[in-house]
């Protein structure tokens, strides 16, 4: 079956599975006191070229909400895009982990927050009746398959700084964004003003591994994160098996190679679709997702032919989302495009 439903319908990179085997020899101290975990933290410090606190966890939701929980008080407000995963796809996990903070969903073209809308939405600071502005969260690459440039991130960070807010990035597809940008990890994040990053690996080749990265955390913040991770049930006893995934993910640029392939497949899909009559791309194809409006007959035909993908938006909108991944077979893209014709 050709499956463009999601990049989480894929398996894992062979290199990562092999790393699990390699990690399996002998005993290792639990709860992150093992060597591999230490090496991953050090490696991420090198990659991001700054002081970082690194916390492996197993799911993207855990990464996002634990990061927010050390940035936002229970009476805080988090500003995010109205299509943000944290707002629409985490069943209230941010509210749970923050102890009741409010997410303020905002509109924005192509899945992106824009500084003006943000600026207008941040209200109530110091007013006892209002939740208190605490953080901005953006998704990179976005839920619309687009990518913020470092300048765009910096413009949002400027709003955050002006109001004393933290800036979190949901990077479930951070690698896809990074290779699209062609800048350094540092330029895409803390140099542009990002405080905390959910560094995703699961969608891009891991079995289930993410890392929360706090850039130059304030005193006590990393320690607090540790307690919150534990009481969230996200501190792995056999941590080496999370960390081994991350180590292999980072080794030999596997993460970047995987992402480049996924992006290339999306581009091929998008370019191919764009040439077909009646097809319109809804968002620019910048990472590994294609959003398109298709003739209803084309959608129905593709589904009949056994291609798997999700309709998007309103039922009658004739919109689809197609997600490519590190292991997408170019022939499958060709087959899809052929069938679509």
């Amino acid at each position: 079956m050709v499956n463009f439903c999601s990049d989480n319908a894929t398996g894992a990179s062979v290199e990562i599975l092999r790393a699990l085997e390699a990690a399996n020899g002998g005993t290792a101290m639990p709860y992150g006191a093992d060597d591999i975990t230490a090496r991953v933290a050090a490696r991420l410090g090198e990659i991001f070229e700054t002081e970082v606190a690194v916390f492996p966890v197993a799911t993207g939701t855990a990464a996002n909400v634990l990061a927010l929980s050390v940035m936002v008080p229970p009476y805080g407000a988090v500003y995010c895009h109205r299509e943000a995963h944290i707002h629409v796809d985490e069943c209230g996990a941010p509210e749970f982990y923050t102890g009741g903070a409010k997410l303020i969903p905002l509109p924005g073209a192509h899945g992106k927050l824009d500084p003006q809308t943000l600026e207008g939405a941040i209200t109530g600071a110091g007013v006892v009746h209002a939740v208190q502005p605490a953080a901005i969260s953006l998704t990179q690459a976005t839920e619309a398959g687009t990518v913020y440039t470092p300048d765009e991130v910096a413009a949002i960070a400027a709003v955050a700084r002006r109001h004393g807010l933290g800036l979190h990035v949901d990077g479930a597809r951070f690698a896809n964004a990074l290779v699209a940008l062609g800048c350094s990890p540092a330029e895409a994040t803390w140099k542009a003003g990002v405080d905390a990053l959910s560094f995703g690996a699961t969608k891009n080749g891991a079995l289930g591994a993410e890392a929360v990265i706090l850039f130059k955390p304030a005193p006590g913040m990393a320690e607090e994160f540790g307690y919150r991770r534990k009481r969230g049930g996200h501190l792995f006893s056999k941590m080496r098996f999370l960390s081994a995934q991350l180590e292999a993910y980072l080794a030999d640029d596997l993460w970047l190679r995987n992402a480049r392939h996924a992006n290339a497949m999306a581009r091929r899909l998008g370019d191919g679709l764009a040439t077909l009559p009646g097809v319109a791309l809804i968002h620019p194809v910048e990472a590994n997702e294609v959003f398109a409006r298709l003739p209803e007959a084309m959608i129905a035909g593709l589904l009949d032919d056994g291609f798997a993908f999700y309709r998007w938006g309103a039922p009658e909108a004739c919109e689809v989302r197609l997600v490519t991944a590190f292991d997408t077979d170019p022939q499958d893209v060709n087959r899809f495009l052929t069938a679509a014709r």
Copy 2:
């Protein structure tokens, strides 16, 4: 290094690593809609011989606190042994997931709750000033390395029923208890009155996999569990990699074989130590843990020799905990006993 610190210092069974590889082919629908997850649920139904709702998660803490969260209101009370993992080793996770319930720690010989103490402690039902009795949680095998017989579980369940409480079992070492008992999984659990089981695999050969099993859940309970697992950040997108661990764990009685080995190693350790002058076993050795009082010189010597294990209890108590596992080398046990002499 010979390491008796904990069964979570071990790696994983080869069979389980192989299952991950086998699970890696092709796409699979995410979030538990894959075939392996369905097979694991069915298999656990067979093994426990009743209707079950099964929820794979990755950590024991997640299993325990999600189970409690569907049994206990925010204003509820959970009765547990004062050494229970949920009380002393989960950094307040039960309070977090229940929304603020209170754990009532109780004494009891050899890590076990006893019905009379429980009966006396369950107070306040219907009193608006008091947290409301909601659940009992026991650990099987206990934190003292002992095992409740089905009759002992049933006696506690009788107290639970009399007060309208649910009965949860923290089964991080359930396999070790089961092979010690020699009864069926059903006899050890729901037939004795257990409502929910944290069915552990991590300590007994998995990389990181547990299953919450709800026995004949009340209407809506399983659905609620699903939402709570998601908002806890514990719903894996690539669920097949959790479920594959569990499937291999259950296949060909791997779980029971692993536990039998671990228990045998603990018995050998315990029996050997008991013959040494100045050594006293603190608890009966019934599963895979040995608690003993040793001459201080013996403890110091063993540590000097490079054996790894934890002192237990008060610093001056000269007590140690030794944990064996599925992969404990009998020669290491012999070496330890030789060195102790």
Copy 3:
């Protein structure tokens, strides 16, 4: 000073103060086991002509969020108007008391929810990634000073029933709405499909007293409310002093007389302003609030003259809110209108 800032800038009705004195004789059993509390519950049952569970509390926020807390799970969604007090003026109290539910703010003319918008917004039921639709909350009279007719309430209740949601009414100004409607309390509430009412008295003559009224509550719901009120810190030991306020409020139709006066004063204000050049009423004046667009010079002049009221909306919008109350002096209204000319 003539003060139209809010009806909570007023004092209390003399009848209510006298009732406190009358309640002061001798001892009374605490926590609501007194006679006055029993009489208030019975009286509200008569007034609403059905089985009710009644819970006096001291603030409107407490009433709203405790009511929601027994209707909405931690992973639930509450649909409300985007100007709803629970969404913008309670500092996240609904999120706190529900354990993390999400409020879904919706647009709607003149402060009112409309059934079509609601119908389109209620999504995600049964989807594990989404917060689960749980309740609708409307404000009566609304934050725009308008009033839902029983038919309008019933149309919203029909949406609620279709989706299995509870219907809560924030009735901080319920008396003002009721006298505007001219229908019975029952017709305005449970006969139109309302499940729970925050029955306000504070803004309409009490010192600080509200009652949560659950109409024909499901089994266990009232008991749960009791525990939640206690652990919220809202169970008064000397409850008689809350209940005495409510008893006096209901006696001899004080609540209706007070509300009629407040509404009449608002009507007089609104009618008077509407005749002035450059003035436009923003919402129909149906209860005790007037929202109007005024020439900037008029606003500045009135403030200079010492009249107290709030600007509303954006700073440059030249909009004001004027709130009248049970004790508004008609001469003050006249003075205001004269000054405005």
Copy 4:
């Protein structure tokens, strides 16, 4: 009926009722922006001779748990006596308001914490599996009717300081303790190391009014308290009616006079009972409560005679609690003692 059930079965001091009437003239800005609230804060600063942040609330539970909520993280531990009101009589409110902290109940003679027991119980700092030591809470006067001397408070505060913990005092009966001690309010609190005080008035003559007093609060702490009070539903719109109670309570030493009377009545009761055959006082009578073991026939006879009071402890223990108050009639004490003979 002669009622020794609790000091919350009493009404209010006439002076306090009169203050409500006096406060009722004209409009006042809501939510604590009124003059009376400002005066109360200033007056408490004078009385306690230091910088204070003052927050009126209506219930003792609200005062206690809001105070703890700004001192304790969700993963924190609060050490308290096992009979502490916050542990046994607030239905989990501390867990709710802190977001899930754990109360550690400790034994101690006559309702008092002792420094050695505390010292031994404070464990787990820096251990990620353990809740983190955060605060100590003691009750003054205690639930056993005894009083900590300033030196005893200072010894507990020394433990708190050594471990970096905050020190909270539940002062529901603070006035009773203070007049028993004969020291200054400052000596009994911050000079002995107290950080936050729940300053009770309800049990000692108010209708329902308490003040949380933060002594020299850390930067941001008072602001945080404000948000937490609001989202707890404890910010009164007509705050003047809470503050007026407190102002009258403090005026002309009413609070001290009331407490002196209550204490004297308890002493008279205790002294009288102690002379009776078969009667034993269980705790020293230091404030306004008497705990005594009585012959069963005496208890039954007194209840038959219509005296109201609570049995205490185990049903068969033949123990009673007798609480006196600001308005206890000395003749009622005499009648009780006569009947007891």
